[in-house]
Symmetry: C2
Subunit: 373 residues, 2 copies
Amino acid sequence: MDELKSIKKIDDFYFTRKKELIFEKKGGKKIFGKFCVFVPTEIIEASGGISVGLCGGKESTIATAEEDLPRNICPLIKSSYGFIKEKNCPYFELADVIVGETTCDGKKKMFEHLMELSNLYIIHLPHFKDERSYELWLKEVHDFKEYVEKITGNKITDEKLKEVIDRENEERKLYYRVYELRKNIPTPINGMDSLKLFQKLSLLKIQDRIKLLKELILELEKRVENNYGYYGKRIMISGCPMVFGNTKIVDLIEEVGGIVVGEETCTGTRKFENLVNGYSIEDLAKRYFKISCASGFNNKIRMERIKELVNEQNADGVIYYTLQYCHTFNIEGVLIEKELKKEGIPIIRIETDYSENDIEQLRTRLEAFLEMI
Amino acid sequence: MDELKSIKKIDDFYFTRKKELIFEKKGGKKIFGKFCVFVPTEIIEASGGISVGLCGGKESTIATAEEDLPRNICPLIKSSYGFIKEKNCPYFELADVIVGETTCDGKKKMFEHLMELSNLYIIHLPHFKDERSYELWLKEVHDFKEYVEKITGNKITDEKLKEVIDRENEERKLYYRVYELRKNIPTPINGMDSLKLFQKLSLLKIQDRIKLLKELILELEKRVENNYGYYGKRIMISGCPMVFGNTKIVDLIEEVGGIVVGEETCTGTRKFENLVNGYSIEDLAKRYFKISCASGFNNKIRMERIKELVNEQNADGVIYYTLQYCHTFNIEGVLIEKELKKEGIPIIRIETDYSENDIEQLRTRLEAFLEMI
């Protein structure tokens, strides 16, 4: 297959991003590192700050993390912590503040260790999805706004907030459009390029993200027009995030003849779904509160959304991806498997870390699954 | 050593408890099963309901649980779920309602499975210990009150609430007194009897609990007077609960010559510490909110309390006990180990399940630890 020029370009932008951040920091901009899609980046941007995702997708930093953290917690948590401890993540090193949240036990308690190494701000994300929890969340978002204003020294004006919300919504719509294009048979982009898109793009500045997404969409539209793209067993991935450095499962799926047509993950749909409907802090809080992470108790919307996505993306089956020791996605996965099977949707659940140890076993399981569907 | 008569009596009461519950249920009483010390039992009692702790300390039901739940979650969660699925726990079978809470990811998500098997009510325990989280908690406690009144059909009067709060405070003070007596060298009660006390007593009705605790205290006072009791390396256990059926670590510690003089666990101090200071629902909510479980973010009070307890109980060292895959206690344990070592308090961290697989390895480690201190 030909290379997608816009994907190649993302690489180029990515390589110069560190320099750009150093330059912007020297110019007085404040940098906010974040772990999770629950952090309302509009607040950071509207205050003139820069938000960047943090490193956490590599096996190599885990040994360092295990000097402080127990071994049996999720590789993403250990890897990020290791990156920080080793001073090995440029975004971490540049960040004025690390913004955490209470999505899971592992991260929540890892942050207590991180407090000793970094300037941390933690947003309280409640367990429930009810009105009472939303009220708490809304207050947390307001507090976060005040905090960000204090750090940057810039008040968030209504105009600025509107501008930023419009821009982030525009990006979200572009991602929706990419997903629409991926529905096609053949699908115009494979899972590896798509993952690159989600992993690297999120590190760039929003103006570049929008520019590159638009270029990509033009390329994909052309491919669709020409019926040019990827055939194979069409796979929806569902579950945990795959942050930069971690391509293990997508590599394997596409190696054994599958083609990934959607990712119901934090580095997929959970990243862009739901627009902000309005221009107030409350509208912002509402959008983020809707994110269907397994950390929420009685998270029925996620179940429904997965079924919908399988349908929308014309997927043949679901590979449910759990990072090892991630209790929320792991336990919820059992219910999702049950429900999908009831509806006749093939699903396989995989729990894995960042190591190479289980590659052969995974390959065998994935091959068998693809043959079956 | 002579047998403590009151401990023997707890066994007798325990054996007839099931019959008693059946009788009370027939008489129209509602039974509330609970997993956790965060459930405000005064509300249940003041409404004429009965609260009982649920089974979850046995290896034997874990295989059944693993038909539905992932293997790598904590044995307590799996064991309880297995008991319910096998219909093997008399308290579960008698319970009209199971009261859960959002203390950890594992339980929170297990409850989603349990919803299919039982009548569940979940109390939202927030992640933080701040004012905002307390407000949410207070509302949850009020909701729980309304719910319990609906189930029992009995309004909770101020008089009834006062009576129940006084009674539960009385019990708490008796536990404090037992701890005071355990400070002595020799200590008048060993870890196994103390564990029995916490495990079995909680299944009895409060009037019996108070009666038996008073008898026990008289016996212990006599022993102290006569300088009669247990010598050995004095151990404080800190960490996860040991519910009925699980005596693994205490067995081992006392087998290799240690003597347990305190338990900073949910089946120890977390169960009885802090009186309810007043007679309102708010006073009740405040007391429960203070419980220093590792599930809380930035849980400094626990750290301080452990140091205090080591001192109060004249302990020679701490055995930090984590149930396998319990992220909150596990990760917090690393910080506690660091802090205690800084203060010169010997500590060993142990992570284990309910199986016999690691017994020899644990024995070796515990022996070495006891020798060292």
